[in-house]
Amino acid sequence: MKTMRYRIRVLTLVLVCALLAVMLWTAKSIWVKAPEETPVPSAESLSPSLPDPWAEPTPAPSASSSSEETPSSWETASPPAGETRTPEALFDTFGL
């Protein structure tokens, strides 16, 4: 009977620990939503927010704004009239 009591204790402890572990796992899977549940934005919903690379350059809001926030010239500047921007011209721009 003494051995049996010891084994009952062991079995109960293992069972309770396993149950707690699975409950924690369940709580974790509820907390972290399944990846397929998160909505994936469509291309149509994304496109208006993307900047148009060939749009007219907008003037900087103020002189104090940092240079990192203003778009660089190769991103925003449209090619001069009658001239197409070739890969070779881009290489020349960056001194390559």
Binding site: M1, T3, M4, I8, L19, T26
Partner: protein, 377 residues
């Protein structure tokens, strides 16, 4: 002693007030008169069930209180579905009290003997094979069959008849595997091997029980080709889990309109994950109480019975939760006391009755000791 009874009184009062409020809140939201009636009837019935049976057969009050709380949660889960469904679930829970009494009386009056244990095996096999013999039979009696088989295995082990005990357990596992109840078969196999390990003195027989149970699963899942794709409810369980709110929502939750036997998930969807965790913790309390009863009993038969009931409750909940988070790709039995399936609910009350019967035996032994001590003076 007085301090202890005062604590019990406070816990019971808190429980009753909680369940009264839980039904009053949806009643005030929806204005349904049935819910107003339930807010008075459910705590009243719980109070009666906690007080009345103690005058008849001395049940184990802590485990009964935990079981009634889980039943109360199952009623809460159906409140927003329909008030009539809540009333039906309440009637099912109340009817389960008969099986609680049956289990307690069986433990009290049962003396382990070969014919009695053989009769129990026959009855358990009958319940498990009913869906195979009658294909149109829609009820699943596997939980009741498992409880009776665990009873019979305990009786055989006390009589040191290990081969019949082994055959009874393996027969039950085969019958469950044959009608594709893989989760229930796994629960029975682990419970059976654990009882063999705890109650049998022989390491050889314990090893034999474990190896044969594993062998049966290997044969069934390998050459016989069980298809895991049949369990379509697995992915839906995870998606239901991930859509549950953490706390009870402020607005009235929308009823799905479909009566589901999975009241555990319905509770989470309508009241938040906090209530699911409460249900899990209540079950752990029940397991600890059952183990304590098994440790304090004097006969190894009663210890095996209490251990069997604890294992069946705990493993059932473990398989249910593991299947919900896709750890086990198998069909799972219902969470204890949180099902609308009447045979399952009755089987859970029968197991609770076994615990109550063991508790009553412990009380009787203590009274006998006190009487002998008084006579010795």
């Amino acid at each position: 002693m007085r301090k202890n009874s005062s604590f019990r009184f406070r816990v019971c009062a808190l429980l009753l007030v909680f369940f009264a409020c839980v039904f009053l809140l949806p009643a005030s939201r929806t204005g349904d008169p049935t819910l107003y009636m339930l807010s008075a009837a459910v705590p009243g019935a719980m109070l009666l069930l906690l007080l009345l049976p103690s005058r008849i057969f001395a049940p184990d009050r802590p485990s009964l209180a935990v079981a009634l709380s889980l039943c109360g949660f199952s009623l809460m889960a159906t409140v927003y579905l329909s008030a009539d469904e809540t009333v039906s679930q309440g009637i099912r829970c109340a009817a389960g009290l008969f099986f609680l009494t049956l289990g307690a009386v069986l433990v009290h009056s049962f003396r382990p003997s070969v014919p009695a244990a053989g009769l129990l095996v026959f009855f358990g096999f009958g319940l498990l094979s009913l869906p195979l013999v009658l294909p149109g039979f829609s009820f699943s009696l596997s939980d009741g069959g498992m409880a009776i088989l665990i009873f019979a295995v305990s009786a055989f082990l006390v009589l040191r008849l290990r081969l019949p005990a082994l055959l009874a357990g393996l027969g039950g596992i085969v019958l469950l595997l044959l009608h594709h109840e893989i989760g229930s078969a796994a629960v029975l196999a682990v419970s059976f091997a654990a009882i063999f390990w705890a109650a049998s003195d022989s390491a050889l027989w314990s090893g034999a029980s474990l190896v044969s149970a594993v062998g049966l699963f290997t044969v069934f899942l390998g050459p016989l080709g069980y298809s895991f794709a049949e369990d379509s409810g697995i992915s839906s369980a995870l998606s239901r889990l991930s859509s549950m709110p953490l706390l009870p929502p402020e607005s009235v939750p929308e009823a799905s309109g479909v009566a589901s036997s999975d009241l555990f998930f319905m509770l989470g969807e309508q009241y938040g994950v906090v209530f699911l965790l409460c249900a899990g913790l209540l079950l752990i309390l029940l397991l600890i109480r059952g183990a304590s009863l098994a440790l304090h009993t004097r006969k190894s038969f009663h210890a095996s019975l209490a251990l069997g009931a604890v294992l069946l409750f705990g493993l059932r909940a473990l398989v249910f939760l593991a299947r919900s988070v896709e750890l086990l790709p198998i069909s799972a039995p219902a969470f204890p006391f949180m099902t609308s399936s009447m045979p399952d609910l009755f089987a859970h009350f029968f197991l609770l009755g076994l615990l109550s019967g063991v508790s009553a035996r412990n009380e009787a032994d203590l009274e006998e000791d006190a009487r002998l001590a008084m006579l010795a003076r």
